[in-house]
């Protein structure tokens, strides 16, 4: 399992790449890897199943079970899927470079949000509840 630092580097590299299809794949995988971190930190086995054709969405659903505040990144996951579809369905579109940048920023937000939720010890159960999970992660 990749660390958050490695995932962030992969996102940065994908954002700079000039090959949109491979960038989109890397960014979608980055989202999946972020979700794997969350699920594993909750003592779960990351699912290999797909929801609506995407493992990322199945992983998000798995991660939100028993943790309603995790739904705060549901739309971010869906935006990642949206940009993946936009890029891969029309790689020659005039806006494709912009779409890759947007997808990278969305992926990065997901990474920051999830890693932020895992970094704080006993911050409590309000809003975006952070849990003392980072210590048990690696």
């Amino acid at each position: 399992m990749r660390s958050f630092e490695d995932i962030e580097q992969a996102i940065d590299a994908a954002q700079k790449s000039e090959e949109p299809i491979s960038s989109a794949k890397v960014l979608l995988e980055a989202g999946e890897d972020v979700m794997e971190q969350w699920v594993s930190a909750h003592d779960g086995e990351p699912t290999q199943k797909e929801k609506e054709g995407f493992r990322l969405l199945a992983l998000h659903r798995q991660g939100a079970k028993g943790e309603p505040s995790f739904n705060a990144c549901r739309e971010t996951c869906r935006e990642l899927v949206y940009y993946y579809n936009l890029i891969t369905l029309d790689k020659s579109h005039e806006d494709v470079a912009k779409r890759v940048v947007m997808m990278a920023l969305v992926a990065k937000h997901l990474l920051y949000f999830v890693s932020g939720k895992m970094i704080e010890n006993e911050l409590g159960g309000f809003c975006c509840a952070s849990k003392p999970l980072r210590a048990n992660m690696n």
Binding site: N71, E79, K98, L105, H109, Y112, G116, L123, C127
Partner: protein, 310 residues
């Protein structure tokens, strides 16, 4: 009674932020209301909604605190509708409403504390809680608003940012996702609708409900800065010149961490941050000063002047 009339005079619950860091949101909301012929009656002797702090320690105490506000508005001031412009307050009043309808233990605590405090106990369903966005949509609507636009925001590219608490958790907002005209949980659009009528060009913005890091801002400022910087960069990549906000926590977070990102990370972003009520006020013909744009850390006065707006 026309359904619009129900919303023309409402109880107003500003909450603590609008009396402090978000004074500009308070004054611009009041001014926009006046210009649109709407009336706000501030909830008398209101208290804290329970915010994040009380909710974290004792969720039922937060329900009581919010229920007291609802009780005063409904039982003492005899209002049918209470409007809260702050996402945190709006969220907590909605949560209290839900808890009192669904959870007997919450009802018991609220009854006990209300009796002890010497006011009438609030009962679920006595009053409708709405956000400032709902207020303008329901009391005025796009058609009527369009007729009152004197100073179009034409040419201004806006990313509409709703934050996390306006739509989450979805079960406390049963009126959303109810078909045509209702607000969307997944893709909120009320702010987009109103600012489009005011002439703004809304850009496609994928992070409109993403976390601003507000809850981390004191405990982990670096993470909040990263989250905010990402939102600012996404807005700029979308082509936005302004991020329109409707939550004081998001607004101050975006402003403060924009400054901090430049200072700590050396990354400067130029997008301006304004409350949607400030933009609407300018579009309705008010001066920038009247809607307190000068009070924003991210002062957009120069941008509006360059655009020939206001």
């Amino acid at each position: 009674m026309d359904n619009k009339d129900k919303y023309k005079k409402v109880a107003y619950y500003p909450g603590c932020a609008l009396e402090g860091t978000a004074h500009a949101y308070d004054s611009s909301t009041r001014e926009v209301g006046k210009a649109l012929g709407l009336e706000l009656e501030e909830v008398e002797n209101w208290n804290c909604c329970g915010a994040m702090e009380v909710k974290n320690v004792d969720t039922k105490l937060q329900t009581y605190l919010s229920s007291r506000v609802l009780s005063i508005a409904a039982n003492e001031m005899k209002h049918d509708v209470v409007m809260a412009p702050c996402n945190g307050c709006y969220h907590n009043l909605k949560k209290a409403e839900y808890d009192l309808a669904e959870d007997d233990a919450s009802v018991e605590v609220v009854e006990k504390l209300s009796t002890k405090a010497g006011h009438e106990t609030y009962k679920a369903g006595q009053i409708e809680t709405i956000h400032a966005l709902d207020w303008i949509k329901k009391a005025v609507g796009e058609e009527e608003l369009e007729k009152k636009i004197e100073n179009s925001l034409q040419g201004l590219k806006v990313a509409n940012y709703y934050g996390c608490m306006y739509t989450r958790p979805r079960h406390i907002f049963p009126e959303k996702d109810q078909g045509e005209g209702s607000e969307s949980i997944d893709k909120p659009h009320y702010m987009d609708d109103l600012l489009a009528v005011a002439g703004a060009e809304n850009v496609e913005f994928p992070l409109k409900t993403a976390c601003c890091g507000g809850a981390h801002t004191l405990s982990d400022s670096d993470m909040s800065t990263k989250l905010v910087l990402n939102i600012l960069q996404a807005a700029e990549a979308s082509g936005a010149e302004v991020i329109a906000t409707e939550c004081p926590t998001c607004h101050s977070g975006l402003e403060m961490h924009q400054v901090r990102a430049e200072k700590e990370l050396g990354i400067k972003t130029n997008v301006k941050i304004m409350y949607f009520t400030q933009l609407l006020g300018v579009a309705l013909g008010m001066s920038k000063r009247k809607v307190s744009i000068h009070e924003n850390v991210s002062d957009g006065s120069k941008l509006l002047k360059e655009k020939g707006i206001g």
